[in-house]
């Protein structure tokens, strides 16, 4: 398919400029002017509409395909929340208005205030900041909160403990905030190795980052013991909320001993992923950490009005320019209001039901490194198929030809040839049966004719790309 630049024709324009109703005598002095032309394409509005419509058709998406991408919670994104975010009274609101007068933005502040309360109750925490703009941004915020806590107590802490099954964002976030990383292995049951943990925890331990259920989709029944081990050395326990969709209404991080949590609104609370964002990663804390939360914070006065409060001298400061990805927060707020208590609980129940169902259906065909009840996702290994020369990536390409977005592959890193399947609650049994059939067909083909995988996929606009060439002859700008 052509690039938009290749459709450019001199003289075309897809923009109607408003007539200038004022004088045009003033000039910017020439040294300040650009000399080199900007090479944006010259295309009509129809050119642009066709181009981007055709591009959109070259994507798999939740609205068009089963999308069981593990760890990403690709549940259905309700349409009414998109409409809610587009309400003019929200979408047109300038973020600096509250600095002029809080009375201009009472509605927006009300949303933020209620979202803080709702997320606190769902997770069992005391206070939330909605500022973090994505999950990893929430992690960084969380680690900065840990650092602020230890600074305030004069603690000399150097490292953060992270399981080997963790997302790469955990160690990256902790390192950016200035900590060393200590990695703890996963035990034979698929959960954190308690003995190894005890060996590595010492007075230098700033805290632990834990995904719960973990990235294998398993709930660690010792989670409260783990928290106690960390608390014994005045460390803090951080809950990576990537997998909160497994346990809404069934367990709350705050009750399990976690001090800090982040939640991914773009996973658990049904806001769309946008092909890689925007997300939103609010962070909640227990009372003893609330004075460190980022500023500003939304407060409710006795008379019922809302305001932003910047007066927290121990705060870690500004984490984002404003109050978070407000448009995303609004969608999640609408979703939570609609589902309510029963709906949220039911969402987690069906997420777990669906994952266990697919696990059971596939057990006979793929290796299951940790054969036990899973939560919202299950992790298989294609190691049996690998012996025939068929890798996880080959199975992924097979699924693409079946119109199914592949599971997450090669993650978690501790499972060889990992296939990580997260169906979410919004898929039906019928859809899961289709998914299971396709994966079983892949396993059978791996047995019968493994060579067939190498040319897959065949039904897409492109076949497999040459990633070595992309990394060697780097071309990321049409004009360079």
């Amino acid at each position: 398919m052509q690039l938009i630049f290749e459709k450019s024709r001199p003289g075309r324009c897809g923009f109607s400029i408003t007539r200038c109703d004022v004088g045009q005598e003033a000039k910017i002095p020439s040294p300040y002017l650009r000399k080199k032309e900007c090479l944006w394409p010259e295309v009509s509005e129809l050119d642009v509409v066709r181009h981007f419509t055709q591009l959109s058709q070259r994507n798999f998406s939740v609205d068009t395909n089963i999308y069981p991408l593990g760890s990403c919670t690709m549940k259905y994104n309700p349409k009414f929340t998109e409409k809610a975010a587009g309400i003019r009274g929200f979408a047109d609101l300038h973020p600096l208005l509250p600095q002029l007068d809080h009375s201009l933005v009472q509605g927006a502040l009300e949303v933020l205030y209620h979202m803080d309360r709702l997320l606190s109750e769902i997770t069992g925490m005391d206070h939330f900041t909605l500022q973090p703009l994505a999950g990893a941004h929430g992690e960084l915020t969380g680690v900065m909160l840990m650092a602020a806590y230890h600074r305030s107590k004069g603690n000399k802490k150097t490292h953060i403990i992270i399981p080997d099954a963790a997302h790469g964002t955990n160690p990256a976030s902790a390192a950016i905030a200035g900590y060393d990383i200590v990695t703890i292995p996963t035990d034979k049951k698929g959960v954190l190795d308690l003995e190894a943990l005890k060996k590595h925890v010492n007075s230098q331990t700033a805290g632990l980052m834990l995904t719960c259920p973990n990235t294998l989709g398993l709930f660690d029944s010792d989670v409260d013991k783990i928290a106690a081990i960390i608390h014994d050395v005045d460390g803090l326990v951080y809950y990576d909320g990537a997998n909160l969709n497994a346990m809404m209404g069934r367990a709350r991080p705050g009750d399990l001993g976690f001090d800090i949590v982040h939640v991914n609104l773009h996973k658990t609370f049904a806001t769309p992923h946008g092909g890689g964002g925007p997300g939103s990663g609010p962070v909640g804390v227990k009372e003893h950490l609330s004075r460190f939360l980022p500023i500003s914070r939304v407060i409710k006065a006795r008379n019922g009005s809302y305001a932003l409060d910047y007066d927290y001298p121990d705060s870690i400061g500004y984490i984002a320019s404003f109050y978070g990805n407000f448009g995303v927060i609004l969608k999640a707020y609408a979703y939570i209001l609609m589902l309510g208590k029963e709906g949220l609980k039911e969402a987690s129940e069906h997420a777990v039901l669906n994952a266990n169902y697919i696990m059971e259906k596939l057990k006979a065909y793929y290796d299951l490194p940790f054969d036990r009840r899973c939560m919202h996702e299950c992790v298989f290994s294609a190691s049996r198929q690998e012996k025939k020369g068929v890798h996880a990536v080959d199975i992924a390409k097979f699924l693409i030809d079946q119109g199914i977005h592949p599971p997450t592959i090669y993650f978690p890193l501790i499972v060889k040839e990992a296939l990580m399947i997260e169906p979410t609650e919004t898929e039906s049994k019928a859809e899961l049966d289709i998914l299971a059939q396709a994966l079983i067909a892949a396993a059978q083909l791996a047995d019968d004719d493994p060579a067939r995988f190498k040319d897959l996929p065949k039904t897409m606009p492109i076949s497999r790309p040459d990633e070595v060439k992309a990394a060697k002859d780097i071309r990321c700008n049409f004009f360079a």
Binding site: G23, A85, A134, M144, H273, V328, L337, L344, D466, F478
Partner: protein
Amino acid sequence: MSGFISNTQADVQQMLKVIGVGSIDDLFADIKSHHRPRSFDIPSGRSEFEVMEHLYRVAADNASYLVSFLGAGYYDHYVPAAVNALASRSEFYTAYTPYQPECSQGTLQALFEYQSLICTLTGMDIANASLYDGGTALYEAMMMAIRITGKKKIIMDGGVSPIYRKIIRSYTSNLDIEFQETPVAHGRSDRSQIMKILDDRTAAVILQNPNFFGAIDDHEDIVGLAHAKKALVIESVYPISLGLLKTPGEMGVDIATGEGQSLGLPLNFGGPYLGFMASRKEYVRKMPGRIVGETVDTQGRRCFVNTLQVREQHIRREKANSNICTNVALCAIQSAIYMSLLGPKGLKDLASLIFNKAEFARQELARIAGVEVKRSSPTFNEFTVYLPRPATDIITKMAKKGFIAGFPLVRYYPGMDHYLLIAVTEKRTKEEILAFKSALEEAICS
């Protein structure tokens, strides 16, 4: 069943049977009784209609109807209808990060086009596929400069948005980085101050154009000074201004960043926005975030992939260039649609229109007795005025007259109580500007 769940009761029974358990509760056996929630006090669910009615009522408590002259880095531009129509295609917005390139060419090609659009806009060689917003993009650029130079001293121009400076200060509080801020002189970057502290230990000089006060500048001379000390120059820019203004590339800047909200995104009370970043090509391996690269498939057809992933957290973990994972891909695509609609002529015409309207407003307001318009340096879309009374008082009065008058600089610059920052976009008509002037005259006199 509620919550967009598709399984029927019959499905549930069959599934439980296949799994070999009696009830859904059995699936949660690993969560022991002492792990159960101490409370889960969430209101009961409501219908779509009820939630929407509630939100319309809440939205009505916001003042979105005032005629606004507020900017300070975030501008109320008109967004053509085609932008939302295309960005609302759910094939774009309900996809995940394009991990499987064969079924994600739509997102990948759109992001490649976005990167190219940003490169030619800024005059830089390479761009990434987006960062969260303008402030975090500037922080990432600073960290990138530290990685490239191996040095840890940062010189920050006082004309850089105070919001961005606050973010950077928070992020680096646990790191060993030396900051020095240089105050602006006559509204612009103070060369003599920068020269005084620029040394061999300096990793980067951070600048902004137009700066927070609205002044435009040519930073080429500062680039020369910095490069002589093997320091980089980072410049945060307002993208629409580049329809007219000298680009970071033309000035020799090493890393250009900015807030892309003006490129077709609504104000949204602070987000989602779009942080863009572009740099010279030799720094591509030090760049944070996703980068989409061109390659060929097994049959030699052009296609696009996420490339140089070894820079990123999912491979390099604690040694990654950044922890960023989810960025703002959809916002980047939205801006690519906007930029394509504008084209080079639309951009230039829009920039000229905004400049002319802002100049008109600047001249008109200067006629008000007691109002002093700062003229020490040229401006583009935004300018600073001195008022005979505290700006916050004037703002309150103006709101009652239907205007958002601008941003009171005292919020970030103690002592500047009488200064107001006024922005003009293409949406402001001559009539509105003249009415604003009359209202301001009254507000000052009353």
